[in-house]
């Protein structure tokens, strides 16, 4: 900090940061605390500690299935979003062509349209032109909202690199497939990894599109948590949520390792 800051400022800053810490993290902490409660009601403070709710969800067919569905959905989304987003990001950051700004805006537009609106449109389309919402519909919906993240991370990655690498490879005799396999794609690795983590996280956590595209026999974890919360919350929801929070922590740590959190900012 700049010297000669008014004396009250460091103290006020410290208090403010403390309050922010509590405010931002408390919701996560109470969920974790509740999952360890021995009571079957969500009361505070918990009367005792117990791991029974973890046993409960591991034995619950519904939660296990929802977990699998979420996992498959997130992985499928990652694959599709990377497959479609990476080439677009390469085109947008390594070439100059007419209409480039417009096309870039088109690719980022799913970030701007509220996902509620998009989810309704998708529901209408799948009901009218297909047999209704389905797992595939969810994959498509999640791919749409995660492509912009892949484009952003891969573009950020490419922006840091020497733009002449591609030309250098050509002059050294590399054909187009060799340029992609040996030069361009290896350059995109960190961006693709970061994009994959974002896509996984968004798909795994999404409830908005999932709730609109509710299909029979397809239930993701966030959907299950939402409907439990609507009717009868109990500490087993807290146990599932805690597992998801831990997964998020792992993702954040990995993102920081490969990409640096300061880059996301």
């Amino acid at each position: 900090m700049i010297a000669s800051t008014p004396r009250l400022v460091p103290f006020a800053t410290a208090m403010f940061l403390l309050a922010m810490g509590v405010f931002m993290l408390l919701p996560l902490l109470v969920v974790i605390a509740s999952s360890l409660s021995s009571s079957s009601f969500l009361v505070f403070p918990p009367p005792g500690l117990s791991l029974q709710w973890y046993g409960e969800i591991l034995g619950s067919q519904a939660y296990i299935e929802a977990g699998w569905t979420s996992l498959k959905l997130a992985l499928a989304t990652v694959v599709l979003a990377l497959t479609l987003g990476t080439p677009a990001a390469i085109a947008l950051s390594r070439f100059r062509f007419r209409g480039q700004a417009t096309i870039a805006a088109l690719f980022l537009s799913p970030l701007i349209l509220p996902s509620l609106i998009f989810a309704i449109g998708l529901l209408i389309v799948f009901s009218r032109y297909a047999t209704g919402p389905s797992f595939l519909g969810l994959v498509i919906g999640h791919t749409v909202i995660t492509i912009p993240y892949v484009i952003r991370t891969v573009s950020a990655n490419l922006a840091d690199l020497d733009p002449h690498l591609d030309e250098a490879a050509r002059i050294m005799g590399a054909r187009w497939w060799q340029r992609y396999a040996l030069v361009i794609l290896p350059q995109c690795r960190t961006g693709m990894a970061a994009g994959a983590f974002f896509a996984f996280n968004i798909s795994f956590d999404d409830a908005v599109i999932a709730l609109f595209m509710r299909a029979p026999n397809v239930e993701t974890l966030p959907m299950r948590i939402y409907s439990t919360l609507e009717f009868s919350p109990d500490p087993s929801v807290a146990a599932v949520s805690t597992i998801m929070i831990l997964m998020t922590i792992v993702l954040v740590v990995m993102l920081n390792r490969i990409f640096g959190l300061s880059k996301i900012v």
């Binding site: 919701p27 509740s34 509620l116 591609d166 409830a207 948590i225 900012v265």
Partner: protein, 284 residues
């Protein structure tokens, strides 16, 4: 950039086509379908053009009330996010690298946690016999348990926590572009600490604050998970009603019309806001 081949546009075209086609079919087409649906009768074969959905939304006092509540809440939430988010972002840019990382995790970790889970946390905090009530009782502030569930205050508190990261991250983006020497220069020229922030940092952060608050506003208007779970049936917001129409009452035409109204009114607020803030920010 890469010339030398006979068709310089071929390579980017090949790279872009799959993604563009996908977005056209899976994103733009559904968005247009929603627009069409709001003007079509629902359940009749063939569907006819109609304005009845919009008429229904216009005459029903219930939805007018829901709309007013939605926008009021969104404005309060946005204002609070600005109030808290700007100082937080300024602090993040000025602390040492270790504390900086801690603070960024403080922002990113909740952001990357599912909204349903964060809302669940708030239910446990705000509900009867929850953390808030217990703490206040322990402190002797209140003598009977309280609950902020089913109150607008509860919705606002939870939503600010859910949306604050968006504002902080966008503001950090524009604060990062301010050379530190600028504020130092202001200090040398005799501006005090707060005047330095007020006259140098704040104006330069306006573009980030503007896009951040727009994002928060748009997201808060279209959120239904947190408002519905915290506010319950009695305190409906527009997004909640839309969810109700689409998945409960199955009145898709009406749901689509409400969505269009939501989208258009957001745009109506956003455009003048952008014009004003871009003047203040003095962008190039």
């Amino acid at each position: 950039m890469s010339a030398g081949s006979a068709q310089p546009y071929r390579e980017p075209a090949i790279l872009l086509t799959p993604g563009l086609l996908f977005l056209l079919l899976a994103f733009f087409f559904p968005a247009l379908q929603l627009l069409a649906q709001s003007f079509l009768t629902f359940g009749t074969e063939p569907a006819r053009f109609t304005l009845e959905h919009y008429a229904k939304a216009a005459v029903d006092d219930f939805y007018a009330g829901v709309g007013v509540r939605t926008f009021r809440l969104a404005m309060i939430i946005t204002a609070l996010c600005l109030l808290i988010g700007f100082p937080l972002a300024v602090i993040i840019t000025r602390v040492g690298p270790a504390l900086r990382t801690v603070l960024i995790v403080l922002i990113i970790l909740p952001l990357m946690t599912s909204v349903v889970i964060r809302t669940f946390g708030w239910l446990v905090i705000l509900g009867p016999g929850g953390v808030l009530s217990w703490t206040l009782q322990q402190l002797g502030v209140i003598d009977r348990g309280i609950s902020l569930m089913h109150t607008e205050a509860g919705i606002v508190i939870a939503m600010v926590q859910v949306l604050l990261p968006f504002l902080v991250l966008t503001t950090l983006g524009s604060l990062g572009q301010i050379p530190p020497s600028l504020e130092e220069a202001a200090r040398v020229m005799g501006a005090g600490f707060f005047r330095g922030i007020f006259h140098v940092t704040l104006p330069l952060a306006v573009p980030g604050l503007a896009s951040g608050s727009l994002l928060v506003f748009a997201l808060s208007i279209s959120s239904f998970i947190t408002p519905t779970l915290v506010g319950g049936v009695r305190l409906q917001v527009m997004a909640g009603s839309i969810y109700q129409q689409m998945t409960g009452s199955f009145d898709w035409g009406f749901g689509a019309a409400l969505s269009m109204i939501l989208l258009l009114s957001t745009l109506l607020l956003i455009v003048p806001y952008m014009v004003i803030t871009s003047r203040i920010g003095g962008r190039k």
